[in-house]
Symmetry: C2
Subunit: 218 residues, 2 copies
């Protein structure tokens, strides 16, 4: 499979731009746990995910974290190329949650393409709106939703992503996803266990009653 | 002053598009307190603020509020025209905090302009990045910053916006800006008063020591 099949507006580009895109872009594979983008002025380019899973998150000065969204196959990351837009004035971090294969489209190439091609500029707009929607959804969750509901929702989402009811994830890691402290996660998981929704064992969480967890998330 | 001087990329448009823009856009004035956009499918168009002050905020199902950002003279509101982009899937509210005069650029006109003109599309991108940056800043505040710092920062910002140390604002209204409960605001303001940073009177808050408030905000 080539980048041409993963870049949604490939067919809207001129023949020359199509050729140039394939020529300047490069395919990379990183293993689980790799930090791809560490905030700051780093501007590696647009990431087009072929397979795997990336986590996009925010950190505080004290090192606390919260997951903004995940990128899966066919997703495109714009903020790893934040230098293409002057008005993007915030830092995010990107790490690989699974072994991940992706193309990098160099920022300079994309920027000049976007500046002269309305289709590319409008596609970039749609990409940004999608991420904006993700972040607004998260803002709503953080502001108005109680932690038990957020945690239940997170476990269900993980179960779908991993295609398993046995989640190999630490309380610490859940805390980093949800932007809270480990103790808060542990306390709530114990409550879920007394409710019969999950069973806790060392280093993993088993979803024993999805319907109950679903109810807890609403 | 005409819209041509308030729309930053007016000079990049063709003569025909410049004429059409001025012809289809209309100037409106609303008084303080007017709800301009109530979320949902409402798609009035881009708002170009000539003078006044708009508040863009989010509400919970239970009616709680948090201010996302303010729009002042020369600011442009994109999300009052969210129908121009499919991927914008969230609701915001817009109300006038002061008597406000603005132009409305109809969404259909802007959409077709953006679709064929790369300069307009890229300008729209920059607009969205600016708002995205505002919301990411707010997310950081909400996630990592303690409430005393947020409140102190808010009072200083209000003082600049109003160009006065005497703020005519209720505790209820501050709570809606900051996404919290009135009691929390009242408690913290009383603490600020014992610290000598503010003096509280019925219906207003006087900043008596800006330097102290500045220190409290850091």
């Amino acid at each position: 499979m080539s980048l041409s099949e993963y870049f949604p507006i490939y067919n809207k580009l001129s023949k020359d731009d199509q050729e140039a895109l394939l020529q300047v872009s490069s395919l990379h594979t990183v293993s689980q746990g790799t930090l791809l983008h560490g905030g700051g002025d780093d501007c590696m380019g647009l990431l087009v995910v072929r397979s795997g899973q990336l986590r996009v998150y925010m950190t505080s000065e004290e090192g606390r974290e919260i997951t903004l969204y995940r990128l899966l196959g066919r997703d495109i990351c714009l903020f790893s190329a934040s230098c293409i837009m002057n008005s993007i004035q915030f830092d995010i971090m990107i790490s690989a949650e699974k072994d991940t294969t992706f193309w990098i489209i160099p920022p300079c190439f994309y920027k000049q393409l976007m500046e002269r091609d309305a289709a590319v500029a409008n596609y970039t707009n749609e990409l940004m709106s999608t991420r904006f929607t993700d972040v607004m959804w998260l803002m709503e969750q953080v502001m108005w939703k109680s932690f038990d509901k957020r945690l239940a929702g997170f476990l269900l989402e993980e179960s779908i992503l991993e295609d398993s009811k046995q989640l190999k994830i630490t309380h610490e890691s859940i805390a980093a996803h949800l932007g809270t402290a480990r103790e808060v996660v542990t306390r709530m998981l114990k409550y879920f266990q007394t409710e019969g929704a999950v069973a806790l064992t060392r280093g993993s969480i088993e979803i024993t009653d999805s319907a109950k967890l679903q109810k807890l998330s609403q």
